[in-house]
């Protein structure tokens, strides 16, 4: 398929209801960190943008939300034009300008304090990171505590960023500033809002 066709194909078949389905999955995952909200493949973006993170982009992004793509995604011109065609979202010049950041290779990503952290007055003006992970069960198990979790929860996302636990501790210390993470796996969505405290299992 040529680039022009790639950037047009693969949007939501039913924009209104698909966007609602994706949003409710993200909302439930954000409200209950550690749970995996299943999501069918509603969008079919060009690789290496995954179906799950493509669906998140279609559901939440528009011309009000500058996007930042990691080098893996940025290298593929079809992804930029697919997102541009379907969402109308501009590309952010720097990670700190982005409302949403899409990251296909979390293991090689930049430090999370390079993204917008919001301000003390407006902590909502921070970047939401969408991390594409292979699955949510085969990585190092993370023990989660905090709002939305009755006692504790565990997820084990694969290919997480380097020194993630330490970076997340710094993120928690900045509260109410800080980034929120949406983990986009083929089987569904899990979220790590900035309020979630993470411990390595057995540590």
């Amino acid at each position: 398929m040529d680039i022009a066709a790639q950037s047009i194909e693969g949007g939501f078949a039913d924009p209104v209801f698909n966007a609602q389905t994706v949003f409710r999955a993200v909302m439930d995952a954000m409200a209950r960190p550690g749970t995996v909200q299943p999501l069918p493949a509603l969008a079919h973006p060009p690789a290496p943008l995954s179906a799950t993170s493509g669906a998140i982009a279609l559901a939440l992004c528009d011309n009000d939300t500058p996007l930042w793509l990691d080098p893996t995604l940025h290298a593929c011109a079809a992804i930029g034009s697919w997102l541009g065609f379907h969402t109308g979202a501009p590309q952010a010049n720097t990670p700190a300008d982005a409302h949403f950041a899409f990251i296909a290779s979390p293991a090689e990503m930049m430090a999370i304090d390079g993204f917008s952290q919001g301000t003390q007055d407006y902590p909502d003006r921070s970047t939401t990171l969408v991390l594409q992970v292979g699955n949510l069960a085969s990585g190092a198990p993370l023990l989660l505590e905090g709002p939305g979790i009755e006692t504790s929860a565990t997820i084990a996302p694969a290919q997480m960023p380097r020194h993630f636990i330490e970076q997340w501790k710094q993120n928690s210390k900045r509260f109410p500033r800080g980034v929120d993470i949406i983990l986009a796996a083929p089987e569904g969505i899990a979220c790590l809002p900035r309020t979630t405290r993470i411990k390595m299992m057995g540590a």
Partner: protein, 299 residues
């Protein structure tokens, strides 16, 4: 003919929904923080729940079951008209039963029946800023939230004690969420404050005129402000509901005549009806109790 203008599902256009949805996600991530949002004009006046309606419209899907209450009642004007609105613009199932609703939009009560995981409680909020009557300037209240400077609120509660001998605030009683933000629980009676604490349901707050959305995720600490020597207390009632004999519920006073006659009945109509169906009788309940008029007739 049905070729009159039709609305998008749930009335709002998709760009508005995306904007509100992003605000809701930020609200959940920062419990108790008021996220500014571009509130729209709705086909009802401010004060009728435009904030709650926009939040509900942005989260609702075709499989949801909606319940709307106004001061605990399913059958008052505001509740009936909002329920009819969503049946018209989203064609969703509606109910008056707390347990079978997936979304409950509320004006100033939390249902007596305990909420469960997976339910969403949407509050209509008139004044989202708990500090507004103490400090009218938005620039200042924003700074106070940023610096976690809530001394003024404690002074206000202290002045209550100095004047009345007790904390006289009975509704919109300020709470602290997850040890950080002081939040207005909307003008619910303080009787309902303990129900917010570590509730299994997601709680979303929408203020349409003031253009703010905030949230309390499930299992989040919500603590009513108080003092060691004046601990927080909820209202108590010295008699049970006159219709269903329920105790430890919030009661409304109903004037019966102009000679001082009055009765106290459950504010939560669904709870009261369920109890009467189960055979509970208060001292003013009619002998044979017609309790089947729970829904307005189908269109």
């Amino acid at each position: 003919m049905t070729d009159i203008a039709t609305y998008n599902f749930a009335y709002l256009d998709e760009q508005t929904k995306r904007m509100i949805r992003r605000a809701i996600l930020k609200g959940i991530a920062i419990p108790g923080y008021q996220v500014p949002f571009a509130s729209r004009e709705m086909p009802m006046p401010y004060g009728w729940g435009t904030g709650g309606v926009q939040v509900t419209a942005s989260i609702i899907g075709p499989d949801d079951v909606l319940k709307v209450i106004d001061q605990g009642a399913d059958d008052t004007t505001n509740a009936v008209s909002i329920r009819a609105f969503f049946r018209k613009v989203a064609n969703v199932a509606v109910t008056t039963e707390t347990a079978s609703a997936s979304i409950i939009q509320t004006r100033h009560r939390i249902p007596e029946h305990p909420l469960s995981a997976g339910q969403v409680l949407v509050y209509q909020v008139p004044i989202p800023e708990p500090l507004r009557f103490l400090e009218p300037r938005e620039t200042e209240t924003r700074k106070m939230h940023a610096l976690e400077e809530y001394g003024l609120m404690h002074v206000k509660l202290y002045e209550d004690i100095a004047k009345h001998g007790r904390i006289a605030t009975t509704y919109a009683y300020p709470v602290k969420v997850e040890g950080r933000y002081v939040m207005d629980p909307s003008p619910t009676p303080k009787f309902d404050n303990p129900k917010m604490h570590r509730s299994p349901a997601l709680q979303l707050f929408g203020a349409g005129r003031e253009k703010r959305i905030y949230a309390v995720p499930p299992f989040t600490d919500v603590v009513s402000l108080d003092f060691e020597d004046h601990p927080f207390e909820v209202q108590t009632f010295d008699q049970p509901c006159a219709l269903c004999a329920a105790e430890n519920v919030y009661l409304d006073e109903v004037i019966l005549d102009d000679h001082g006659g009055r009765m106290f009945v459950c504010s939560d109509t669904d709870h009261c009806e369920k109890r009467r169906e189960a055979g509970h009788r208060g001292h003013l309940a009619p002998e044979s109790d017609p309790t089947s008029q729970t829904m307005e007739p189908a269109q």
